[in-house]
Amino acid sequence: MDEMSVLLVDDEREFLEVLTKRLRKRKVNLEVAVSGEEALQTLQTKPVDIVVLDMRMPGMDGLQTLKEIKRINPLVEVIMLTGHANVDAAVEGMELGAFDYLMKPVDFDELLFKLQDAYKRKAMRQQSPGNTLDNDL
């Protein structure tokens, strides 16, 4: 997992702290941001493979942030975290190009699996930029 670079975006600092420790222990290259705006700023200077994005934050909301991320770099994969069992927002996010979503409280192992899957898809897309293959393989 040490090639993977991830940006974690969540306004809950304690959650961010413990998740950071656990991911860094597994050699994931990690950046963090506590808001949509901060996430976008970070992405300008530090490109990442995957963004894990809490959908329910004050300030710039999840879907807005997602749109912006995809505009800046469409190849970045986004995994949504919904504390909101708001399936509509999650589905809309998928339509905007998010990779998938997970419900909070998030199962750490599930998050790891999703990160691996998202990384695989990003790698595939980067190899063949014209390929719009969306199937999971």
Partner: protein
């Protein structure tokens, strides 16, 4: 037990809320009409919460004959739903942090310094317990969040007479024991309407359970009637119990209002029913005369009349078997299929053909891979599984799938030489088996039938859960 704690917590918050809104409830023993309390003024004036929709109650004393009441619209129930969802979200965050910290401790325990610690096993066990309890919290909050959800649940074309007949049939044993008769008067050629069958089942179960409770020890009759009333279908649930006194009529749809003694029902049933009926675009009202029982009226608009008329013409007032009705239903979400076979070209070809028929397809080339995917993707409805594969064979994969996901259906694909394994598979819970090369139409048919069976099982489980919450029997 967990449900009790959560309901008590919501009860506590809601009673504070209720106090703020100047609410009072009357109580009485089961089966007894409530005696008006001396301290409740005859026409209690309550201030509706800000933003309450129009829905002032007519002055009951002015009406004659059976008294009909409408619950106040929108306002309070929506408030409760938002409250429940809000609490759930607030709880989710601290629980998430707790569970992650427990996981972090687990990570640290793998360090060298702890290797020979005498308490290592116990520490691990305790941490696992924290995670388990955290998962339970998550389940409970999900239930609360669903209660507050405005999103609609899968709507289908439903023949209400069939649904009602199914529900009534499930009462047989309980009813015979307690000298209660459940009767039906179902209108012939009732058009179909478009709603979520599981939600309607919840409503019916609640109303019928209340009717049975009202009859109490003395027993009596419960009558369920369907009729067409202009643009609506009307379902009546009537009982010959003691009836509902006028001062209670405008309160019975309020959340946490109950005449049952503490511990025997939280009083959520009718408010949930009201919310569900409202979500279906309908209306729930009650009529009652003390000494003569009560009737609950469920009005449901008929949407999609063309489809309804077509079905009504062919149906008549009998009860076609549930499977046939489901065959006419339009599933709102595509079926998710996992295709598993070590022959890569076969899997890819099958996957493409299924995708063209609007299935959502995932693929795996081995039993191990299939199990991994099933672990990550909870939404898989049906697995199409080759019996003979190197490594983990189909039967083993079937066993493990059924062990972790009993509701997921499995269809086995077998060559002529492996038919015996396929039959063994049926005994282990596979839905069916098909011989390769299999006819595409047959396979699609079986996948759809398997999906319907899964949906029915899930509905039954959901009903049981709702019954548990709303009609508490300790």
């Amino acid at each position: 037990m967990n449900y009790v704690l959560v309901v008590l917590a919501v009860l506590a918050v809601a009673s504070v809320l209720g106090w703020l809104l100047v609410r009072r409830s009357s109580g009485g023993g089961p089966g007894e009409p409530a005696k008006p309390h001396a301290d409740i003024p005859p026409a209690a004036i309550t201030a509706p919460p800000a933003g309450d929709d129009a829905g002032a109650l007519e002055d009951i004393d002015d009406l004659e004959g059976p008294l009909e009441a409408r619950p106040r619209r929108g306002g309070r129930l929506a408030l409760l739903g938002d409250l429940a969802a809000g609490i759930a979200h607030e709880i989710n965050n601290p629980v998430a942090i707790m569970v992650e910290e427990a996981g972090w401790i687990e990570d640290l325990l793998e360090e060298e310094e702890f290797r020979n610690s005498p308490n290592l096993e116990e520490l691990r066990r305790a941490l696992k317990q924290i995670k388990t309890q955290g998962a339970r919290c998550k389940e409970v909050t999900q239930n609360l969040i669903s209660f507050g959800q405005k999103a609609s649940i899968k709507a289908e074309d439903v023949q209400l007479n069939d649904l009602i007949q199914d529900v009534v049939n499930s009462y047989d044993k309980r009813v015979r024991a307690g000298n209660i008769r459940i009767e039906t008067e179902l209108a012939a050629l009732l058009p179909s309407c478009r709603l979520s069958p599981s939600q309607m089942q919840q409503v019916l179960l609640n109303l019928i359970n209340n009717a049975i409770d009202a009859l109490g020890e003395k027993g009596g009759r419960v009558l369920i009637r369907t009729a067409l009333d202009g643009e609506n279908i009307v379902i009546d649930v009537a009982d010959t119990g003691p009836g509902i006194p006028p001062e209670m009529l405008d309160k019975i749809f309020d959340p946490f209002f109950t005449t049952k003694p503490v511990g025997r029902g939280a009083g959520l049933g009718l408010s949930i029913c009201y919310g569900l009926v409202e979500r279906m675009g309908g209306d729930l009202t009650v009529e009652s005369m003390v000494g003569e029982g009560a009737v609950f009226h469920v009005h449901i608009p008929i949407i999609g009349r063309e489809a309804g008329a077509r079905k009504a013409a062919g149906t008549g007032d009998g009860a076609p078997p549930a499977e046939e009705t489901a065959a006419g239903a339009v599933a709102a979400t595509p079926t998710v299929v996992l295709v598993v076979d070590d022959e890569v070209p076969f899997v890819e070809a099958l996957g493409r053909r299924l995708a063209r028929r609007n299935f959502e397809v995932h693929t795996a080339f081995s039993g191990d891979e299939a199990l991994q995917i099933l672990k990550r993707r909870r939404e898989i409805d049906v697995v199409v599984l080759d019996v003979k594969m190197p490594g983990m064979d189909g039967i083993q994969a079937l066993r493990e799938t059924k062990a972790s996901r009993p509701l997921t259906e499995v269809i086995l694909l077998s060559a002529h030489t492996t038919v015996e394994s396929a039959i063994e598979g049926i005994k282990l819970g596979a839905f069916d088996y098909l011989l390769k090369p299999c006819d595409m139409g047959q396979l699609v048919n079986q996948i759809e039938r398997a999906r319907r069976r899964k949906d029915r099982q899930e509905q039954r489980i959901m009903e049981a859960r709702i019954k548990e919450i709303t009609s508490r029997r300790i």
